[in-house]
C-alpha cells in the first residue's frame, strides 16, 4: 500500500506544482480568508457578502477539479438562493449599516470546537478516500454532467433518494412548526 502511494507521489511529484495546482492552492487560501472574515466581521451584511466570496471560491475549486456541473449547481443553490435568503432575512430585521457590537451569541468557543472537529473529520475522510488519486487533466474530463449523473443515478441512487426524503421531512416539519405558532396566537 505504502509502496504504491509513494510511486504515485513520485510520478506526479509534490515539489514542482503545475499551474492548476498553484491556482487551486491560491483560491483555497482566498476562500479560507473569506470564510474567516464571514465569522469574524462585526457587520452583519458584510458577513453575508463574504460568504458569497467563500462559496464562489469553492465553486472555482470545483471547476479546477473539472467538476463543472457541481460548480454551477454550487453557484445556483448557495450564491443564488441561500445567500439571497440570508440577505432577505437581514433586511427584514433591518440590519444596521456599520458595526453591531451586540452581534455576539457568546458561543465563540463551542462554535470553534465544532468547526475544528467538523473540518478535521472532513479532511481526514477526504484525504483517506483519495489518498493517491490524481486527476488526469490532459485526458477525458472526469467531472462532466454525464459522468456525475451516471455515478449518481447508477451507484448512489439510494443515498440520493434518502436525502430527498430527509429534505421533504424537514420541509414538512418547517410548515408544521410555523402553523403551530399561528394556532397558539389564534387562541389568544
Amino acid at each position: 500500500m505504502t509502496g504504491t502511494s509513494t510511486l504515485a507521489a513520485q510520478a506526479h511529484g509534490f515539489l514542482s506544482p503545475t499551474g492548476v495546482e498553484v491556482a487551486f492552492l491560491l483560491i483555497g487560501l482566498v476562500t479560507l480568508a473569506a470564510a474567516l472574515l464571514t465569522v469574524t466581521t462585526r457587520q452583519l451584511v458584510h458577513a453575508a457578502l463574504w460568504l458569497v466570496v467563500a462559496l464562489g471560491g469553492l465553486a472555482v475549486e470545483y471547476l479546477l477539479l473539472t467538476a463543472e456541473f457541481i460548480a454551477w449547481v454550487q453557484v445556483l443553490i448557495y450564491v443564488g438562493s441561500v445567500v439571497v435568503l440570508l440577505l432577505f432575512g437581514l433586511m427584514l430585521t433591518k440590519a444596521p449599516i456599520g458595526r453591531s457590537p451586540d452581534a455576539d451569541s457568546g458561543n465563540r468557543w463551542p462554535a470553534l470546537v465544532v468547526a475544528v472537529a467538523a473540518a478535521a473529520a472532513l479532511v481526514w475522510v477526504v484525504a483517506d478516500a483519495f489518498r493517491t488519486t490524481w486527476i488526469d487533466l490532459s485526458g477525458a474530463v472526469q467531472g462532466t454532467t454525464k459522468v456525475s449523473g451516471e455515478s449518481l443515478f447508477r451507484y448512489w441512487v439510494l443515498p440520493f433518494e434518502a436525502l430527498s426524503v430527509l429534505l421533504l421531512a424537514a420541509l414538512v416539519g418547517a410548515i408544521v412548526l410555523s402553523r403551530m405558532r399561528r394556532k397558539k396566537e389564534g387562541e389568544r
Binding site: W72, V75, L90, I97, V141
Partner: protein, 319 residues
C-alpha cells in the same frame, strides 16, 4: 497554441461587442415602440434620423453627472453594487450559442445551469444597492427584489429542466442541435413559464414591484446618480437580451428556421421576444406584491411541474 488564443480572443471580443451594442439597440427600440404605442413620436432630434443617437446622448449626460454617495451609506458596497448587477449578464452572453458549428463564446458542458446560476447572482447587485443606500425606499426595493427572486427562480429552473430532459443534455448548443419543430407546441407551457419567470427576475413590467416609481421612488436604485445609475439601467437591458436569447435557444430552436440562415435566426427571434417584453411594459398594469407571489406559487410552479410530467411521458412514449 497562439492560433487557439487568437480564436479565444476573437470570440470574447465578438461577445463583448454584442454586449455593448444589443442592449442599446433594445433601449432605443423601447423608446420608439413605447412612443408609437402611446400615440407620440419619442426622441426625434439627437443624431438627426429619428433620434437614433438618443442613448449615446443619454450616456454622455450620465457621464457628466456627479457621482454622489449618501453620507450614511456603506460606501464600498454602495459603489460595488452596479458592477455586481451588470457583470453576470456579460458572463452569460459568453455561453449562449448564436449559430451552428461552435458559433458560441465558450461552449460549456452544463450551459443551462451556468446561465441560470449566473443570472441569479446579478440580483445580488440590487440587494446590495438596496441595503447599502441607507434609505427606507431602497431597503423596501431590495426586500421586494429578494422575495421576487426566491419565488421565480424555482419555476424558471423547472421549465429549463423540462427542455434539458427533452434534449437529453444540459449543454446549450446540444439542446439546439436536438431541436425539432414539434418541440414548440410540446414545450409551449414551459416556454411561457420560463419567459414569465424571467421577466419577474429582471423586474420588468408587469413585475416591476421592486422599482415601482409611484410607491417607492425607484426602489434599490433611488440613491444612485451618474454612471452607476446608468449601469443599473444597462443591466436591465442586458438582462432583456440574455433572457430573450436564452428563451430562443431553449424553446424556439435557436438557429433553426424554415430556410437556412444560421445566426440571423437567433438574432431575429431574440429581437422579436425583446419586442414582446417592451409590448408587455406598455400594455400591462403592475401586479401587486401579493398577486405576484400568488402567481408564482399557485400558477407557474404547478404549470412547470405539469410540463415536466408531460415531457417525461412523451419522452418515454417516443423511445
Amino acid at each position: 497554441m497562439s492560433g487557439d488564443s487568437v480564436d479565444v480572443l476573437l470570440r470574447l471580443v465578438a461577445v463583448f461587442a454584442g454586449f455593448l451594442v444589443l442592449p442599446l439597440v433594445i433601449g432605443q427600440t423601447e423608446h420608439k415602440v413605447m412612443a408609437h404605442m402611446q400615440g407620440r413620436l419619442g426622441p426625434m432630434y439627437a443624431g438627426g434620423f429619428h433620434g437614433w443617437a438618443q442613448l449615446v446622448a443619454d450616456g454622455v449626460k450620465f457621464a457628466q453627472k456627479e457621482d454622489v454617495v449618501p453620507a450614511d451609506a456603506d460606501r464600498r458596497i454602495f459603489q460595488l453594487a452596479p458592477a455586481v448587477a451588470l457583470l453576470p449578464y456579460l458572463l452569460v452572453l459568453v455561453a449562449i450559442p448564436v449559430g451552428p458549428g461552435g458559433q458560441v463564446g465558450r461552449a460549456l458542458d452544463a450551459g443551462v445551469f451556468f446561465a441560470l446560476a449566473v443570472m441569479g447572482v446579478g440580483v445580488l447587485g440590487s440587494l446590495m444597492a438596496g441595503w447599502a443606500s441607507a434609505n427606507k425606499f431602497s431597503l423596501l426595493g431590495g426586500l421586494r427584489t429578494a422575495a421576487q427572486l426566491l419565488a421565480y427562480e424555482l419555476p424558471m429552473l423547472l421549465a429549463a429542466a423540462s427542455v434539458a430532459m427533452a434534449a437529453g443534455t444540459v449543454s446549450l448548443p446540444g439542446i439546439v442541435d436536438a431541436f425539432h419543430w414539434w418541440w414548440v407546441p410540446w414545450q409551449l407551457t414551459g416556454a411561457v413559464v420560463f419567459f414569465t419567470a424571467g421577466l419577474a427576475e429582471l423586474q420588468r413590467p408587469p413585475f416591476d414591484m421592486p422599482v415601482a416609481d409611484s410607491e417607492i421612488i425607484f426602489g434599490a436604485y433611488t440613491e444612485y446618480t451618474g454612471l452607476r445609475f446608468a449601469m443599473f439601467l444597462l443591466s436591465e437591458y442586458a438582462g432583456i437580451v440574455v433572457l430573450c436569447a436564452l428563451t430562443t435557444v431553449l424553446f424556439l430552436g435557436g438557429w433553426h428556421g424554415p430556410f437556412a440562415g444560421g445566426w440571423v435566426w437567433t438574432l431575429l427571434k431574440t429581437m422579436v421576444l425583446a419586442f414582446v417584453v417592451i409590448w408587455l411594459r406598455v400594455s400591462y398594469p403592475r401586479l401587486r406584491e401579493d398577486q405576484l407571489q400568488k402567481l408564482a406559487w399557485t400558477v407557474l410552479i404547478p404549470l412547470a411541474l405539469a410540463q415536466i410530467a408531460l415531457t417525461g411521458v412523451v419522452k418515454v412514449v417516443i423511445r
